[in-house]
């Protein structure tokens, strides 16, 4: 059966959920072969096998962390040459897209980014994308070379499907040009203990209406009562009330949760671009004319300082 390469996103062997989604989608096209770079291959292989990886190609070298992007492209290219896959799937993170972009140039293949669904087609995999701030949905395919496709988080529900997950070492040699950009230092982000924004089933976001960094505790309180991730509009981020990593929208994260709650956010096109594919959308805004209300399944016209605390209390008491 045809093989599909899946690039693994992980933290020291702990495989992130979007990769499990990729394995699930890969099985619609062929047999997934996972490419795992860095430490923790054995731990990762266990999970990858559970979700259908027949093989796990792994390489560990200091180059992966000492230099930006290019060494990982060298490794993915080596895996591509070893396997001759029918497609290469990569998670749609900032880094994933850059790796995929360079691989596409190197192997002379077309690339599709930010797919939200994938199916087998008569002429190769067909990718669904959501474009123009999600006002259009397109179906595309790669017409030259081996399709390289990056897939957004929350594009599929991960389905377990036991496979061998046999670990094999991948030999990688790094090109001279691949060590041009040195990572001089790295400051890991502190964990908040909340779900990852892009992976979360529920996201609660605050905007300019939250009116101050200290008031974001209201948004966090609601998020915690629901087990949700916290997002912010660019206005809130630019004001310095919440970190940029939590920004939702065109120049922040694109999220597609089951439930998106926007509090004190007007719903500008650039914000909508990052949340419009959410399944259920709820807004709290004191302006009945705010464009966000055009998107909602349920909206409350009111002061978030009244509505949010009451909602949080009610959620807590209903959950018991």
């Amino acid at each position: 059966m045809a093989e599909v390469l899946v690039y693994v996103d992980h933290a020291d062997g702990a495989v992130r959920k979007p990769t499990l989604e990729l394995l699930t989608l890969a099985r619609r096209i062929g047999e997934p072969v996972a490419v795992h770079l860095g430490a923790g291959a054995d731990a990762a292989a266990q999970t990858l096998g559970e979700y259908g990886a027949v093989k796990v190609l792994t390489a560990d070298a200091s180059e992966f962390s000492d230099y930006l992007i290019a060494p990982k492209v060298d490794a993915l290219e080596a895996a591509y040459k070893a396997v001759s896959p029918v497609a290469v799937l990569v998670p749609s993170s900032a880094e994933g897209k850059e790796i995929a972009a360079r691989l596409a140039v190197r192997i002379g293949s077309g690339i599709i980014t930010d797919a939200v669904d994938l199916e087998a087609g008569a002429e190769g995999p067909v990718a669904t994308q959501s474009v123009f701030a999600a006002s259009y949905s397109t179906k595309s395919r790669v017409t030259k070379g081996t399709p390289v496709i990056t897939v957004k988080p929350n594009s599929a529900a991960p389905e377990a499907a036991a496979a061998a997950g046999t670990v094999e070492q991948l030999a990688v040699s790094f090109g001279e040009k691949s060590t041009g950009t040195k990572v001089v230092s790295r400051t890991p982000r502190e964990s908040t203990g909340r779900p990852e924004l892009t992976e979360a089933a529920i996201v609660v976001s605050g905007g300019r209406g939250v009116n101050g960094a200290e008031n974001f505790s209201l948004i966090e309180g609601l998020a915690d009562s629901l087990g949700a991730a916290v997002g912010a509009s660019r206005a809130a981020v630019d004001a310095g009330w919440y970190p940029h990593t939590n920004q939702v929208g065109q120049t922040g994260k694109s999220v597609s949760p089951q439930l998106y709650i926007a509090a004190g956010i007007s719903g500008a096109i650039q914000h909508r671009a990052g949340m419009q594919t959410s399944k259920t959308i709820v807004a709290i805004n004191k302006d009945a004319e705010a464009p966000i209300f055009d998107l909602v399944d349920y909206g409350v016209v009111g002061d978030l300082f009244e509505v949010v605390p009451q909602l949080t209390e009610e959620v807590k008491s209903r959950k018991g």
Binding site: A70, V126, S140, R189, Y298, V300, V307, L311, E314, R318
Partner: protein
């Protein structure tokens, strides 16, 4: 030796307008007003700041696009860039990211560069892949998605804020850089700048000038094909209630009904 900075800028349909697909499923660029991609203004701004710090620097703005894309070049020139290069050819219609990066790479080699600066993504296609493709094609270091950037002693340094960590990066020139919208507000063109821009040189190049064949680019040469584009049905109007003191509880009731609680 002067520092040769080339800023890649794209002319895009206005995101706040009604964007559509043309009949051949390429982005409709006729019915919508276009402008210099707002995210590329940040690239122009950083180029201007780097040039200020350098003893001697020359900023060229480069675009691949239709006739109207000159507007984007003019805007960048009025912000303070020195000259412009416009790659324009009927055969470019429908070119995808791989094709665009090929044309840009050829144009960069033609113009000459020490530092290439791009935006983080175009506001229309928004793939955010062209800078990485350029680094790959040119065989120079990729120093991308920077929220802070500086050039000194033949080196570019910068901070890349990733999901898992914030990284400090360093590479020797020549290099390809891309900057995010966190890198600092772009300046508004001054009246003097707008007047001066009218006299700045804009060089036009076509595929032949770059040694490229029509088959390598355009819709026919594209490496991907859009088979279908459907307008998403407008979301069905939801329930909107006015808070009369029970808004939070009513919302909780809705969430419970949807099994979120």
């Amino acid at each position: 030796m002067s520092l040769r900075i080339v800023v890649c800028v794209k002319y895009v349909p206005d995101a706040t307008g009604d964007r559509h697909f043309a009949e051949d499923l390429t982005v409709d660029r006729d019915d919508v007003d276009g402008l210099l991609s707002e995210l590329d203004e940040y690239a122009v701004e950083q180029a201007l700041q780097i040039a200020d710090e350098a003893d001697d620097a020359e900023i060229t703005v480069l675009t691949v696009g239709p006739e109207d894309a000159k507007d984007a070049l003019r805007k960048a020139l009025s912000m303070g860039a020195h000259k412009a290069v416009h790659v324009e050819d009927d055969d470019l219609h429908g070119t995808d990211a791989l094709g665009t990066s090929l044309v840009l790479a050829k144009a960069l080699e033609h113009v000459g560069y020490d530092l290439v600066i791009s935006g983080m993504a175009s506001t229309d296609g928004g793939m955010g892949v062209v800078p990485a493709m350029l680094a790959e094609r040119l065989g120079v270091p990729q120093v991308t998605l920077l929220s802070e950037v500086a050039v000194a002693d033949g080196k570019v340094t910068g901070r890349r804020d990733g999901d898992a960590a914030s990284e400090q990066l360093e590479a020797s020139l020549p290099a390809v850089v891309s900057v995010t919208d966190q890198s600092g507000e772009a300046r508004y063109p001054s009246f003097k700048g707008i007047m001066a821009a009218k006299k700045k040189p804009v060089e036009s190049l076509d595929l032949t000038d770059l040694g490229l064949e029509a088959e390598e680019v355009g819709l026919e040469g594209a490496w991907t094909k859009v088979d279908e584009a459907t307008e998403r049905p407008a979301r069905t109007a939801g329930t909107v209630v006015k808070d009369e003191g029970e808004g939070g509880k009513q919302l909780a009731g809705f969430l419970a009904g949807q099994k979120f609680i």
